[in-house]
Amino acid sequence: MSARSLSVGGLHLAAEGRLLVRGVSFTLRRGRVLGLVGTSGSGKSLTTLAMLDLLPPGVRQISGMVALDNAPADRAALRGGTVGLVQQAPRGGFNPLVTIGRHFAETLACDGVRGAAARDAMQGLLREVGFDDPASVTGRYPSQLSGGMLQRVMLALALCRDPDFLLADEPTTDLDLVVQAQLLDLMERLVVRRGLGLLLVTHDFSVIARLADQVVVMDAGLIVEQQPVHRLFEDPAHPRTQALMAAHLALYA
């Protein structure tokens, strides 16, 4: 049975006596893309990590909850099976000492998928993210793949346990524009085909314009604006959104 929505409510995070995230709430729906946008340090990555109870040491959650289909959820239990995570800088997410195949084997074993079934699942996933010859990838080590390839493998790993939602934190920021365009096409296909609910965290409004349906704008730990993407671009309400939008449009001037 798949869930239809994943919500964050009243999230407050603090470190060293300073509030870093103040009352963030939003809802992610299946088959939709929610863009979470803001400058660096606005709290968007911490919010994402808090959703899976993965906060770095020193950051505490003061209040707030995560709900699946409007029922409070055990966040650690959501990891992998219900909610997948893809982070910036894919290289850091891999163990450099084991092959790509081992990464899949370990993840699939969580659900008891082993042996030939695991191999078939792995090859299917790798094909889904655009590797036409999966066997050429599985025997290789992370250091032997380029950043764009690793990010696609990371995406396949996040999809291993068939999650309903995917949190993607700056998934294309370290990639060049050509690879970025391919990865965004791929994510769009996943949203359409699998009905995945995607949280797309980025500072780049062109990525938002490409993929998001609904947009949450964060600044200094607060949500300053929450709008459908068309309305946000046509008529940004908050001065911070207007400033970010101006910086974005200046690139195209």
Binding site: G31, S40, H230, F233, L251
Partner: protein, 273 residues
């Protein structure tokens, strides 16, 4: 005369471990590129196209397999692969990741003072010089005794620019120098680089994969294709451009969301079914 002149340089890297029998992989094939004094030249290309390798040759970090690297008309490296101290100061670099390019143990002052040690200034003169450099890049000199890594990404990248400016270079290599910054910081750092160039007359070699950053910033533009750097007269114009440039152009995402896309209908259908 050109400030920097790369003439038909070829270069590559060996693959595999120390005992690997695989041959070296060529990255550059007789690539040529010139930068005139005070000029800003953009070098575009996707990941793995050899643009950073070209930059490393221009910095004298590596010696090409074949071809010549001339600075002020004379070879950049001598026969033993060394660089004259004057040239070492004259060519500086700013890289993509400011955290990787600075030591977490050093204060902001120490980062910028490092290239000035050769001048053997006394303590107070050195502090004044560093303070002036920090002001040049829009950082508050009062912050100079903080650890460099306590600064934000944008501030740290400014610090790296201040360090590159310290020896009064004539050429600065900007290797994806603004790509990891968020949009507002990116615009501010580009404006800073523009005004510094106006004031000091130094030249930039601006390496990037983002064509949008080149407009209004670079005087001339090259694109990497098949290990060569091709000059493109008008990267934005309607005329024909090399396929590599066309690919970079096509990769630019639209500035505005699509009008009510077909995907939205498709997704709604997928969810309902």
């Amino acid at each position: 005369m050109s400030l920097l002149d790369l003439r038909a340089v070829s270069h590559g890297y060996r693959q595999g471990g120390l005992f690997s029998r695989r041959g070296a992989k060529p990255v550059l094939r007789e690539a040529s590129l010139r930068v005139a004094p005070g000029e800003c030249v953009a070098l575009l290309g996707p990941t793995g196209s050899g643009k950073s390798t070209l930059g490393r040759l221009a910095l004298g970090l590596e010696r090409p397999w074949a071809g010549e690297v001339l600075f002020d008309g004379a070879p950049l490296l001598n026969r033993r692969g060394r660089m004259a101290p004057g040239n070492r100061r004259a060519v500086q670099a700013v890289f993509q990741d400011p955290h990787g390019a600075t030591s977490p143990r050093l204060t902001a002052f120490e980062v910028v003072a490092e290239p000035l040690h050769a001048e053997e200034l006394d303590r107070s003169t050195l502090r004044d010089r560093v303070a002036a450099l920090l002001e040049d890049v829009g950082l508050d000199p009062a912050a100079m005794d903080r650890l460099a890594h306590r600064l934000s990404g944008g501030q740290l990248q400014r610090l790296c620019i201040a360090r590159a400016l310290a020896p009064a270079p004539r050429l600065v290599l900007l290797d994806e120098a603004v790509n990891s910054l968020d949009l507002e910081t990116q615009a501010r750092v580009l404006e800073l680089l523009r005004s510094l160039r106006r004031r000091t007359g130094m030249a930039y070699l601006f390496v990037t994969h983002d064509l949008r950053l080149v407009k209004g910033f670079a005087d001339r533009c090259y694109v990497m294709q098949d290990g060569q750097s091709l000059e493109v007269a008008d990267p934005f114009g309607p005329g024909p451009v090399p396929p590599a440039m066309a690919a970079l152009r096509a990769a630019i995402l639209p500035a505005w969301p699509n009008p009510r896309s077909s995907r939205q209908r498709a997704t709604t259908a997928a969810v309902i079914s």
